[in-house]
Subunit: 151 residues, 2 copies
DNA sequence: CGGGAATAGTTGACCACGCAACAATGTCGT
DNA sequence: ACGACATTGTTGCGTGGTCAACTATTCCCG
């Protein structure tokens, strides 16, 4: 085991700013969505994923993968969204184990209602503070990190 | 209400890469700490904060602020850490409402044991993928975002 | 084919966290 | 000095999440 290479001051500052900024950002977005539209950030993202899928539907499994959460988490989230009337479960006809989660009209409407405020908040809290160069570096860096972590 | 300015493709890509990369990163760090040292990432951060504080102790309130979590969260986390023997509660002598959370010897030892692996993971999953320029942009951008969100 | 292994989704048990309410204590203006 | 108000830490409650176990179904290889 080699000697540990600790973070220098600059790396420390980067790490802390990133962690704390991210925590504050997510919290702010969550509160904005919750108070303005009655949707949590996590649920909002599920609705977005469904809205982008062909036929506005996704297998439970794919929804779990796409949202980077566990399958049981998706099961419960979809039940929640179903109770709210924003999603319905549809059986697969080619796989009798399978279930689709499908966006309802009400779900699409809720998304349309919530989206503008959310996008504004993302701009106000993040993109408005980024230069073109900042954004390019962040995009490329996190794209690499994501690829590495998925590998 | 003005027309919503949606995210363009580049902003979308940035946002998704950042969100997903962050989620994967935190998850990876959490698992590394949990499996190698039996500490959650959240608890690890509390130990770090205490280790950096004068006298290895912090008021509950300050610990909550520094960790960006709620007070009740800190109360329960400290109870958890106390049960593990890594932290002890010490009454304030200048404020009878007050409580200090103080790092124990065992807590310091646990931190010393966990830190190298954690730092290695942070390097492997994040800093190794960042150029000097990437890091500078991320540091500055998130520092601004954090300041804005704290304002 | 047929049967073991893999996969889909759900559920139960458990844990972590936030909010609101609370008692205890401190602070401050008048 | 005293009463209104603020602050501290804890707790009950509700919510949301993971892991492991389970059933039902599908896959695949001998």
């Amino acid at each position: 085991m080699a000697e540990t290479r600790w973070l220098d001051d600059d790396e420390q500052a980067t790490w802390r700013a990133y962690l704390e900024g991210t925590r504050l950002l997510i919290h702010a977005l969550d509160r904005q969505l919750e108070t303005d539209s009655g949707v949590s950030f996590a649920d909002y993202e599920l609705l977005v994923l469904l809205s982008e899928a062909p036929g506005h539907r996704l297998r439970m499994r794919d929804l779990a993968d796409a949202s980077f959460t566990s399958r049981s988490g998706v099961t419960r989230a979809v039940t929640r969204l179903e109770d709210a009337g924003w999603v319905r479960r549809v059986e697969c006809d080619d796989d009798r184990r399978g279930m689709h989660a499908e966006l309802t009209e009400a779900g699409a409407a809720k998304l349309a209602e919530a989206a503008p405020g959310h996008v504004s908040a993302v701009r106000a809290h993040m993109f408005d503070h980024l230069s073109e160069a900042d954004r390019a570096h962040i995009r490329d860096a996190y794209t690499r990190m994501r690829a590495h972590l998925l590998g």
